[in-house]
Symmetry: C2
Subunit: 202 residues, 2 copies
Amino acid sequence: MTKNKTTEQKIFDAATELFLEKGVDRTSVREIATKADINLALMNYYFRSKENLFDAIFSQLVKKNTRKLIKILDSDLGLEEKVRQYVVVYIDMLSENPLLVSFVMSILHRSRERITEMKAISSLYSTDTFAQQIIEEGKKGNIRRTDPTQFYVDMLSLIAFPFAIKLLVMDKRGFTEEEFAEFIQERKERVPEMLIDSLKLR
Amino acid sequence: MTKNKTTEQKIFDAATELFLEKGVDRTSVREIATKADINLALMNYYFRSKENLFDAIFSQLVKKNTRKLIKILDSDLGLEEKVRQYVVVYIDMLSENPLLVSFVMSILHRSRERITEMKAISSLYSTDTFAQQIIEEGKKGNIRRTDPTQFYVDMLSLIAFPFAIKLLVMDKRGFTEEEFAEFIQERKERVPEMLIDSLKLR
DNA sequence: TTGCGTTTTAAACATAGTTTAAAATAATGC
DNA sequence: GCATTATTTTAAACTATGTTTAAAACGCAA
């Protein structure tokens, strides 16, 4: 019963598992073929190339994970609450799926010029109600006048970068996996506080 | 006169240029050999492997660039001034050498387990007077009690990550190179302010 | 059952990093 | 100054990668 999968699905699933486990570059097509129990050439038959297969997998991963985040940004929550929820949900997401980060990093490093063409990227865009909200609240004098792009970049940086430098932090501080996880958990309070503070009038 | 370079130097220089220009993965050994005007096998003769050559180049790049940063952290400046200088010098460094970031990112993504073995990493470590300073000032009640690691990670994130997601930001906001450079320049004021605010007592 | 489009296969191809073993060159000892 | 030894350079081959090819196997409608 577990084996009604189409060939395309078998390839997709095997590749996803391997890519997440050992990284794209360190996963060979022959390895995928073996794990999926298919002929080598079928990978190129169904997906035109390994890069293409990667794109497909990445798109699916991003879509699956960013839906909730975009929903928060586009909701009608107040700015403070919106930031709080976004940070916590995002950090939880990366905590549960730490490989997503190195996955994303590998794209940023890969294919420089082609990055904007990636289908998946488009799903990273919210409808910008968040940016509008920051501008509006600034005009009303509820918060400091703030460049939404700067604020959004601050937010992303404080959320995602620690995962990217995980191994460096662990090595420098002698953290175990558990200690690093704890370190990250603390950030679910620290980061929103910092971001909201930066919006406060002085 | 320009050609008294030893073979090892010729390889090193050609590879450095190519790695920075097109990335490590997209630079072939044969290409390096051609540019350096040497035989293909000499690359393996002088450096044991391409990965090793990369390590050597990376070490040199990191050393050359981080000296100034470590000096600031280990200086006897006050905390505020130290943060200000560190952020500005770091951002300037990455602005002038934007390829350093994608270079570093590629390492974080590469060789996961071997990362701590990298010679270059050690030069990222200051003698931790900075951490001590944060703890001391916290005890004295001059600033909020703060986990130095958290603060350091905040700082690094706000400085470096925007460079890593440069293409995403440019695409999303329709920035030109100049506009992105300007965006980064603004962060030289914004980021220290944010960091210093986070230390203030409330 | 025949014919035709789809799927699968084994084999070959091009390019990558690396190794080898011989040749060329430089250095050393007598 | 020559013979020997060590170092450097070379061309070629080796292995592994992603990809392509052309034939075979399969599925199904006419």
